[in-house]
Amino acid sequence: MNANKPNFDDVQKALALKRHEQPNPNYFSGFSHEVIQRIHTPDPPRPLTWAERLGLGEDARPFWLCGLGTLVCGLLVVTLVASLRMDKPQANLAPDLGQSPVAGGAVSNHVSGQPLPGFQVLPGQNGEQRSTAPVLAPEEGSTPFPLESFPAPKKP
């Protein structure tokens, strides 16, 4: 058991050397007097550094870090909201380009009279028929809307 116990005797003897490190003999004769003098006449406050004048000192560091964190979070939120709003107008445009007929019949092709996908024929006030198809007459053989690649809306 004792063999396993580390022996620090030499370390402790070496540390005893530190007790012999002493300041010069007259050092403490005026020490208390200096302390009392400094209590009577406190040291003037040290001049502020430029960083402290701008409120960037060490005392203000936590506030600046909190502000910076808030700013970063705010920017992230603004970016997120802006990206969501940019998506919304595209979703609103989709019914104008190829609005699926929820109710009513399919729109007819002006040329062939065939029903055009995605357009509705709505009854007008005077009995005429109105469609949501574009006004310009398409060329023969061509679809009235160049974006014919839009898939036909699926019927519910």
Binding site: V11, K13, H20, Q22
Partner: protein, 229 residues
């Protein structure tokens, strides 16, 4: 019965000795040396109480009583005489400013040590790795210390090692320890404080003090392996 100026302390404190001055005797102006001598006989609790009322002469006496120990602790922690001088003075100044907060839960010595330790650790953390060692000279008693003589001449692997070199290596090894480990070594192995007292100063339990002391000694032994067996 009227009480003289320096009255017996009240509360659950130890009784003070009968005071030499009684109210019935005519008052005679005392010389400064006599006043200092009289104050040096006064108990610590009375000095503290009077200092709390603003008596700087009593606080001066408290400074005189603890200046060497406070300075020594800070010096061994910083290994720099100039820094130790500044920090020791600031410790006593801070002690005077915070004197009203001393409630007597611990001894004044322990309370003052805590201020010194906190100031020193904050100073070392700000200074970080910019260590500037400025050691005091060894007094003449060092060469007569039998333990040191035996350590140098017989047990060191390097027989040509002298005390000054060992002092330098020892200080370097101490500065490699963390502040907490250096502190326990300073308070226990250099200044001879008990584990319980160290635990009060460092605000930890005795087991923590013992484990830190063990680890610190291990580290020192490893650092000084070329100089001591």
């Amino acid at each position: 019965m009227s009480e003289p100026h320096l009255s017996r302390p009240r509360g659950p404190t130890i009784m003070s000795e009968p005071l030499p001055i009684e109210a019935s005797e005519p008052l005679v102006p005392l010389a400064r040396e006599e006043v200092a001598s009289a104050i040096s006989q006064v108990e610590e609790s009375v000095l503290v109480r009077n200092a709390q009322k603003g008596d700087l002469a009593c606080y001066d006496e408290l400074v005189r009583r603890f200046q060497e120990r406070v300075y020594a602790t800070i010096y061994h922690m910083t290994a720099n005489h100039e820094d130790a001088n500044d920090l020791a003075q600031e410790t006593f100044i801070k002690g005077y400013q915070a004197l009203q907060s001393f409630k007597g839960d611990s001894s004044f010595y322990t309370w003052l040590y805590r201020i010194a330790v906190n100031k020193t650790i904050n100073f070392l953390k700000q200074r970080k790795s910019r260590t500037q060692i400025s050691l005091n000279d060894l007094d003449f008693n060092a060469e007569k210390d039998p333990d040191l003589i035996a350590l140098i001449s017989e047990k060191t692997p390097r027989r040509d090692l002298n005390l000054a070199e060992l002092q330098s290596k020892l200080s370097e090894a101490l500065m490699k320890l963390s502040e907490a480990h250096r502190l326990v070594v300073t308070l226990h192995d250099i200044q001879g404080l008990a584990h319980e007292e160290i635990a009060t100063i460092m605000d930890c339990n005795v087991g923590t003090v013992r484990s830190r002391l063990f680890y610190a000694r291990q580290q020192l032994q490893a650092h000084l392996v070329d100089y001591i067996k």
